[in-house]
């Protein structure tokens, strides 16, 4: 793959990006800034400590655990054990939509719960207050489950949230109480929190309910958090195809569905980074294979549906999937045909998340746009280079501190859904069974890949490439727009969406068209400034 558009010399750009850093910082950053080659993917330094002071996009372990993975389930009371801020900042800011089946169904999404830890709790311990808080939450709401999230001071003062949870679970009797040691300092980014969340959900929820689930093609949707209603669109498509969604981890999900998830016959993974642990653990314990799919992009959605049908190997399902695709695609194509002349040849940069920076490239490709540089905020090498590099990833001190659950096959519930031979056959057909090929194989030769991009690097990248659109998050939004470049938020979607599936793709095309062709970008200079600039230029030419 060579770029159709002219890309600046990437090695010069790399020098520009690290030139200003102190020597040690430059040396470290240079390993995270690589020039892509999709054929022989180079190694990217990822999931390592951020240089203090560099201005990073990254957040903390708590954000990954509570904010990302646990936050979207509507009927868990999520109590944050710590000072007030951590719970406050994660309060409704991730746009995890949820749709209770009836108005009386439990839904705590709009609530913010905290133990509001005070100095005396830090000095004398906060476990007592935590237990009171759990009791009060139970008395007020009688929830099915209460989850406890540890913030930084909790780990340091030695509060045992797990013991407190066990004690209260026993005391309450009909409420599942469990804790997470997701203190902000664990690991090097949100990623540690994802892993901790996966462990907790697997240990305390999955497998609690063995009620059989009706349906011929039963799967779980992993790593989909229903931001802007993404899960609703995927649910719509599944329903149309006759695919039964047992549980979603965790957009628009419930405790009951997650407890029942091991009744499914396939796990499909969207956000590999945040949930791959769950896929592996469920395979080992219950024999459910996982498969990487992508519902961002219309073509990718069609491809993912075909893969799912292929997995189940059922002729009727395959036919139905083709019918659905044939029904959905013309609407999408019509919009592409309308918009593409206005977006063709434009360029994009994506620096976001642990999965989105990869998958949103599909949507830009569908619009005829080129991704010139991309990188993740908190991904690991496998998300860049593909899971085949997993055996070669060095486990450093920060990763070692995150528990790896020792999972074994469940003596009663383990039931391999496919034989080894069947799985091999599916892999040979191109299905990413228990695999993920990563971002870089899809990107152009000589495009830039930057992990954990700093503020300085992103400003320089924009100056050097002058992209037509930049994708990142809220902290970057107005910085980049001040430079005259529209920024599409890929965490919150700028309060739009959904962007998944067929209808989502159409939403995205329209949003990008609106953004890159918006008249406002031509209005930045006042007429008198323009006149002065033109006069200056005329003088210079003369």
């Amino acid at each position: 793959m060579e770029a159709k558009i002219h890309l600046p010399d990437p090695s010069l750009i790399k020098e520009e990006l690290i030139g200003k850093y102190p020597a040690k910082v430059a040396k470290k950053r240079s390993k995270s800034i690589v020039i892509n080659d999709p054929e022989t993917v180079p190694e990217v330094q990822a999931n390592v400590r951020t240089v203090p002071g560099i201005i990073t996009q990254r957040g903390c372990s708590y954000a990954g655990c509570k904010g990302v993975v646990l936050g979207p389930t509507r009927d868990i009371v999520n109590i944050v054990h710590g000072p007030i801020g951590c719970s406050f900042y994660a309060w409704l800011t991730r746009r995890n939509q949820t749709r209770p089946e009836s108005p009386t169904d439990e839904n705590y999404i709009n609530y913010c719960f905290s133990t509001d830890m005070q100095e005396e709790n830090v000095v004398f311990g906060g476990e007592k207050k935590l237990k009171v808080a759990i009791q009060e939450a139970y008395d007020l709401f009688h929830p099915k489950a209460i989850a406890i999230f540890s913030t930084c001071p909790v780990g340091l003062i030695g509060d045992d949230v797990h013991a407190a949870s066990r004690e209260m679970k026993e005391k309450l009797g009909d409420c599942n109480v469990f804790g997470f040691s997701c203190e902000g300092y664990r690991g090097v980014s949100q990623s540690a929190g994802h892993h901790i969340a996966n462990n907790g959900v697997f240990k305390h929820m999955v497998g609690n309910n063995n009620t059989p689930v009706e349906g011929k093609f039963k799967l779980n949707l992993l790593g989909e958090y229903n931001i802007g209603g993404d899960a609703f669109e995927i649910e719509r498509i599944f329903e149309k195809c006759g695919i039964t969604l047992v549980a979603s981890f965790s957009g628009n999900s419930t405790v009951r569905a997650i407890e029942n998830a091991h009744m499914a016959d396939l796990n499909v993974i969207l956000c590999h980074r945040s949930i791959n642990y769950m896929g592996d653990m469920m395979e080992t314990r219950y024999g459910i294979p996982w498969m990487k799919v992508n519902f961002v992009g219309a073509e990718s959605s069609a491809k993912s549906l075909r893969k799912i049908a292929e997995y189940f190997g059922d002729a009727d399902l395959k036919a139905r999937v083709e019918e659905v695709i044939a029904e959905e695609m013309p609407k999408v194509k019509a919009v592409i045909d309308e918009i593409r002349p206005r977006t063709e040849g434009k360029t994009a940069m994506l620096f976001v998340g642990g999965s989105r920076a990869h998958h949103y490239q599909d949507l830009f490709t569908e619009l005829g746009m080129t991704t010139v540089a991309a990188g993740y905020e908190f991904a690991h090498r496998d998300d860049y280079e593909g899971r085949e590099v997993l055996p070669n990833i060095k486990i450093d001190a920060d990763s070692k501190n995150i528990e790896e659950l020792k999972v074994t096959a469940d003596p009663e519930l383990y039931r391999p859904r496919k034989t080894e031979a069947e799985l091999e056959e599916l892999k040979a057909k191109g299905l990413e069974i228990n695999g993920y090929e990563g971002m870089m194989k899809q990107m152009l030769r000589k495009s830039m890949v930057v992990d954990d991009v700093s503020h300085y690097e992103s400003e320089r990248l924009i100056e050097l490439y002058k992209p037509d659109i930049f994708c990142a998050g809220i902290k970057e939004k107005y910085v980049v727009q001040k430079m005259g470049v529209p920024l599409k938020q890929l965490h919150s979607y700028d309060y739009g969406g959904p962007y998944t599936g067929f209808e989502g793709a159409v939403n995205f095309y329209r949003d990008i068209d609106r953004m890159v062709n918006n008249p406002v970008w031509k209005l930045i200079k006042a007429p008198w400034e323009q006149e002065a600039a033109e006069a200056l230029e005329a003088n210079y030419v003369a």
Binding site: K20, Y21, R49, V51, P52, G53, I54, I55, T56, G59, C60, S61, Y62, I79, P83, I84, G85, C86, S87, F88, Y89, A90, T93, Y111, C112, F113, T115, M117, Q118, E119, V122, K129, K131, V132, I134, Q135, E136, A137, D139, L140, C152, P153, L156, G184, Y185, R186, V188, S189, A397, D398, S454, Y456, G473, I474, K475, Y478, V479, Q481, K482, I524
Partner: protein, 449 residues
């Protein structure tokens, strides 16, 4: 049900975000969060959502190792990286619950940075202690403002005609308005912090990492020679005025933040007295315009019950203003603790013996919602999170305070001064009269109101 352990839907957040906001009001300053990465990320995100502007700040990026062995190495590395890459005039470091719990001493670490030559000539590193388990975002703001006064102010022995105005937590639009009022009065003031022209920067096609606004370091240094200080707010501003008095013998007076008629009157009088200037006719006329509207529209305001939540220095004068408008402040909640706040609020509420007021631990929006369910109100005033109560209870809602995540205007149009009072009345009337229009029967639908 009385709760002792559980806070539900807080009416406050934590100290460090206030310190970050205050530090953005120094020109050429990069705020720095000494703690885990998440703190800095969350604070930047919240401030960005509120202002829809770049909010630059750095973090010490603590990992487990730093949490065990102390964060000194991380902060020293930060200081080195920041001066090399971002070249600020000053780095304003604030602590977090993490660095406070492990006992990092910011004074000692910044001294070491200086001794090790990590702070370039003519550049500064200041600090404030802002553990998240004490106070609220408001006291965090106060601590950083005190820090900037204490650490920059110099007393040369020669007093000047300058008057320090310590801004309590207010919007850039409010700070601009305070400067305009002082200018109209001919008073020579130094306002700090000052986030105008920082968090309301124009679109120019270029990102100014350090926008043109903010109090300068020379300005802050000169505050020690000012003849006096006016602190706008007893919780968020007064501590800095006290610090200046202690360090440089600058006498101070504390007035309520000038929100609404009476508080603005007291501010104008205090400034006039301090600066030895007469109140000019244009200020009196501005006042007259506000009183005129209050008189003309009293029928739509009189006796209306209001629930409000937010921060002390805003709630005190706002409650007073509602009373001046003939309205009934019925339920008032603030998560910010403090005896000073309670006492001042009780003084104001002597005119409203019926009012429910609670602040500090347990004073959250869940409690406010219960109060509203027990005794319904005609109007809700507070930050964006109020929209869930407003929707549930079908109450007209005016957004006011921090954070406002779903509307614009707060950073551009002031709430302080007589103009700010006029804007508040306009907003309150807007939602009340819209409601009247929506609910009016066909035959009662009025053209002229």
């Amino acid at each position: 049900m009385e709760r002792e352990g559980l806070t539900i839907n807080p009416a406050k957040t934590c100290q460090p975000i206030g310190a970050m906001y205050a530090a953005l009001g120094i020109h050429g300053c990069l705020p720095h969060s000494h703690g885990s990465q998440g703190c800095c990320s969350y604070h930047r995100s919240t401030l960005t959502r509120h202002y829809k502007e770049p909010v630059m700040a750095a973090t010490s990026s603590f990992t487990e190792g730093a949490s065990v062995f102390g964060g000194q190495a991380n902060l020293l590395q930060s200081i080195e990286t920041i001066f090399a890459v971002y070249d600020p005039e000053v780095i304003a470091v604030h602590s977090t619950c993490l660095s406070e719990t492990i006992g990092d001493d910011l004074q000692q670490i910044t001294k070491k940075a200086s001794d090790d030559g990590k702070i370039p000539e003519g550049k500064y590193v200041i600090y404030a202690s802002t553990p998240s388990f004490v106070g609220s975002h408001v006291t965090g703001y106060a601590n950083m403002v005190s820090g900037m006064a204490e650490q920059f102010a110099v007393s040369t022995g020669a007093k000047t005609e300058q008057i320090n105005i310590v801004a309590g937590w207010m919007e850039p639009s409010d700070m601009r308005e305070i400067k305009d009022i002082a200018k109209a009065m001919g008073a020579k003031i130094l306002l700090f912090p000052d986030t105008s022209d920082v968090l309301d920067a124009p679109q120019t096609g270029k990102h100014e990492f350090y926008p043109k606004g903010g109090v300068t370091i020379d300005g802050l240094k000169s505050s020690g020679d000012s003849k006096c200080s006016l602190a706008l707010g007893c919780i968020s501003a007064e501590p800095a005025a006290i610090a200046l008095d202690k360090k440089c013998k600058v006498p101070f007076e504390t007035v309520d933040m000038p929100i609404g008629l009476s508080a603005t009157d007291r501010f104008v009088m205090a400034l006039s007295k301090a600066a030895g200037v007469k109140v000019p006719a244009e200020i009196t006329a501005a006042r007259g315009r506000l009183v005129d509207v209050m008189a003309d529209m009293e029928q739509y305001l009189h006796g209306k019950k209001v629930a409000l939540f937010g921060d002390p220095d805003q709630l005190i004068p706002l409650t007073e203003f509602l009373l001046d408008l003939g309205m009934k402040p019925t339920h008032i909640v603030s998560g910010t603790p403090g005896m000073r706040f309670e006492k001042r609020m009780q003084e104001i509420l002597e005119r409203a013996p019926y009012a429910n007021f609670k602040n500090g631990l347990g004073a959250d929006m869940f409690l406010l919602h219960q109060w509203i369910k027990n005794e319904p109100v005609d109007l809700l005033i507070g930050n964006t999170y109020g929209k869930y109560i407003a929707r549930d209870e079908q109450v007209p809602f005016v957004r006011f305070g921090f954070p406002i995540l779903d509307r614009i205007g707060h950073s551009y149009f002031p709430n302080v001064g007589y103009m700010g009072g006029l804007r508040l009345v306009e907003k309150i009337l807007g939602v009340l009269m819209d409601r009247q229009d929506q609910e009016a029967l066909e035959e009662k639908f009025e053209l002229v109101m």
